[in-house]
């Protein structure tokens, strides 16, 4: 018996040794043939990947010392990054937006930025930095951004005989228009919004109404369930109750494209798709809350490029980061990413494009706001409860009273 076990164990060890030996080629090395290798992870899906690959190839072609490989993670981006970080194998450079969750594994970039001179930093729109830093340390360079604005279908508005939205609209104006459209046009609703909305995005409505998820001291109670917040949550529910709005599974682009809804709020991601469809549509600033005494603000969905804290080639990684967020790249990406650089916006006449103007206008208005996700320690727990709360309030089969639901959530946090 003992001999058998001994034999088996020996066999196993030999196999293990053989296996690791046969894998020992340079797939794990970061240098081969003299060039420093950098791994760059992107979350884009198939559509945009080819153009991204072309841009990476361009960098490699002009580089004698650095070679970048593009890794496309698609929809499962978070899973792969987490797995990589957990096993100490994260890519050197990666797209990043969820800094609170990942910053501890990222390299602080302040010293690199300062090394480039003041002009470098100033060329980026100020509002963007708040979205790429934690505790006043910068962890990512903005690569693009979007704010949210109101999209509307010009054809449906014309058909219903309703005046088109303007930048000065309030939610009351929107309500009136949406109701009229829903009544008059068969098969179309005036407005649509996402059922399982992202609490991160939703906070902008609270901001627009002079409140937020937490107050300055970090308390949820009194802020999340304040009268202003309840009003913000109720606006959407009321629209649904009156039959002026429908809920959508995703952001609402599909419904907008098929004419099921005449208005929806979204970022600039859909602009190129809608243009490709040949849709006759317009974009304006977000509607204001009439009693708030100010103009509506928007959340920033800013993506940045970050560096892994465990990268073995930080200098090389920084070179690539500069390239990817530099002027040339920004120009290439015009059309599917709003440029984060003032100089590019100017030189390319971005503001002449009426589709881009509302997003930059919202950008200007929205400086100085930091999302709760960056401030709250247990954002994971709070956001999960907020998600559920949004569902409870907006699910057509439940339509719970916002005040009750928000009181509940505030009570737990």
């Amino acid at each position: 018996m003992k001999r058998k076990i001994g034999l088996l164990l020996a066999l196993t060890l030999i196999m293990a040794a053989l296996l690791s030996a046969c894998g020992g080629s340079d797939s794990g090395d970061s240098e081969s043939g003299g060039k420093t290798k950098i791994r760059f992870a992107s979350w884009d899906n198939a559509e945009d990947l080819d153009s991204q690959q072309a841009l990476v190839d361009k960098f490699n072609a002009g580089q004698e010392e650095i070679e970048v490989t593009l890794e496309a993670y698609g929809d499962d981006y978070d899973t792969k990054i987490s797995a990589g970080m957990g096993s100490g194998d994260a890519p050197d450079v990666m797209y990043m937006w969820n800094y609170p969750a990942y910053y501890e594994a990222l390299e602080p970039l302040d010293s690199y930025i300062d090394g480039e001179g003041a002009e470098y930093k100033d060329n980026f729109y100020e509002a963007l930095w708040a979205y790429n830093e934690i505790n006043d340390t910068i962890y990512g360079i903005p690569v693009g951004f979007t704010t949210h604005a109101l999209f509307y279908n010009k054809d449906i508005f014309a058909e219903a005989g309703v005046a088109e939205p303007t930048d000065d609209w309030t939610w009351d104006d929107l309500e009136a228009a949406a109701k009229t459209i829903s009544d008059k046009i068969d098969g179309a609703a005036g407005f649509s919004y996402q059922l399982q909305a992202d609490p991160y995005d939703f906070e902008m409505y609270l901001w627009s109404n002079n409140t937020s998820y937490i107050d300055d001291a970090g308390n949820v109670e009194g802020s999340l369930n304040s009268a202003e917040a309840v009003e913000a949550f109720s606006v959407f529910q009321n629209l649904q109750k009156e039959g002026a709005a429908i809920t959508t599974e995703k952001g609402g682009t599909d419904e907008f494209r098929s004419g099921k809804s005449a208005m929806y709020i979204y970022g600039a991601w859909s602009v190129s798709t809608l243009d490709g469809d040949g849709m006759n549509y317009g974009i304006v600033d977000l509607p204001d809350f009439a009693d708030s005494g100010k103009e509506a603000v928007s959340i920033l969905s800013s993506s940045g490029i970050a560096m892994s804290r465990d990268s073995k080639n930080k200098e090389a990684a920084w070179e690539f980061i500069k390239y990817w967020t530099g002027e040339e790249m920004n120009k290439e990406r015009i059309g599917y990413e709003l440029s984060a650089l003032k100089s590019v916006v100017e030189s390319e006449g971005v503001m002449d494009d009426e589709k881009s103007v509302p997003f930059y206008s919202m950008l200007e208005k929205s400086a100085g706001y930091t999302p709760a996700s960056f401030l709250v320690e247990d954002w994971g727990g709070l956001s999960e409860d907020l998600e559920l709360a949004l569902e409870r309030i907006n699910n057509p089969t439940t339509l719970e009273d916002p005040k009750t639901v928000l009181d509940e959530v505030a009570g737990v946090h």
Binding site: R3, K4, L8, L11, T12, M15, A16, L19, D78, T79, S82, M85, G86, A101, Y102, Y103, E104, A105, L195, Q196, G380, G381, E384, L388, E391, R392, N395, P396, T397, T398
Partner: protein
């Protein structure tokens, strides 16, 4: 003489050695690692901190979602397992009938199991759409107003059951292989004795396929408890967490909330539950599973302990 005997004793071990080696190298390591992880607080992006049994205690006493997801998953399993096994067996019987064209049906029944889960989820998402889905349209033809399957928390679970029944082809195929290989002589002898189809099924078919029944029972229990992909793609655990199965709960803990230690503890709890359940079923199996090799063994007079 002794060497020969030793070799004979070693033989079974040699046969199963590939698995043992593979287990030690590819499975045992990660397994032990995940067990160790469950005693730590590990936020993936930074250092792990030892918490002993902290994760487990928190799970059982402070985490209401743990109990909710657990109960939900048990409920799902209780429906899914008998339903799917019944359907699989029924279909398998159907396609063993010697009638013309059965081959085509066989293929049709199996195709859904071959489609990738991504596509399946998208298609069923369309079919189950409350306003424009085909299912509700068909129901309306017979006068029933279908619920909003994926939006109404009261019905979402049934929607998942419906969609997961789609993949019954694999179990059906396993049953079918077993049934088809039952020697025809047995049936013919029974016919001579005047047995009707029902009697043949319960007297011949069912007893002989009990080994595969056991297999399908255990594997479908395991897959019901671990259900994740379908729920993630079709409902994301909603609406209102009505389909937030245990698998999703664990996954979210690991990759959304970055609590890898906690998620490992979640996984081990589920593992133990399945283990206990399966051991119980196995133990009971000696009463109802019929292995021909064993029976023959008894017949030839060899003493064998009753398992």
């Amino acid at each position: 003489m002794k060497r020969r005997k030793e070799l004979k004793k070693a033989t079974p071990y040699i046969f199963i050695s590939p698995w043992i080696i593979g287990f030690i190298v590819f499975t045992a390591g990660p397994l032990i690692l995940s067990l160790i992880m469950s005693f730590y607080d590990w936020p993936v992006t930074s250092e792990a901190a030892f918490t002993g049994l902290g994760n487990y205690i928190k799970m059982f006493t402070e985490d209401a979602q743990f109990w909710k997801s657990l109960k939900l998953t048990l409920k799902y399993a209780a429906i899914f397992v008998p339903l799917n096994m019944g359907i699989a067996l029924f279909l398998a019987m159907l396609i063993t009938q010697p009638i013309r064209g059965v081959k085509i049906y066989r293929t049709i029944f199996y195709i859904p199991a071959v489609i990738s889960s991504v596509a399946t989820a998208i298609i069923w998402g369309w079919i189950l759409n409350g306003d424009y889905g085909v299912l509700n349209y068909l129901l309306s033809l017979i006068g029933i107003e279908g619920p909003n399957w994926l939006v109404d928390p009261a019905w979402a679970l049934m929607a998942i059951v419906l969609t997961s029944a789609f993949g019954v082809g694999t179990m059906m195929l396993i049953f079918y292989t077993d049934i088809k290989n039952i020697p025809i002589d047995l049936y013919e002898a029974a016919s001579l004795d005047g047995a009707n189809p029902v009697r043949k099924f319960f007297g011949i078919t069912l007893p002989i396929i009990t080994p595969t029944v056991l297999f399908n029972l255990i594997t479908s229990i395991i897959s019901a408890f671990q259900q994740l992909t379908l729920v993630m793609l079709l409902t994301s655990g909603g609406p209102l967490k009505s389909t937030y199965f245990y698998g999703m709960y664990t996954y979210d803990n690991a990759f959304r909330h970055h609590k890898l230690g906690y998620a490992s503890a979640n996984a081990w709890v589920m593992f133990v539950i399945i283990l206990v359940l399966t051991a119980f079923i196995f133990r009971s199996s000696s009463a109802w599973v019929f292995y021909e090799a064993e029976v023959k063994g008894q017949k030839s007079g060899r003493r064998r302990k009753n398992k």
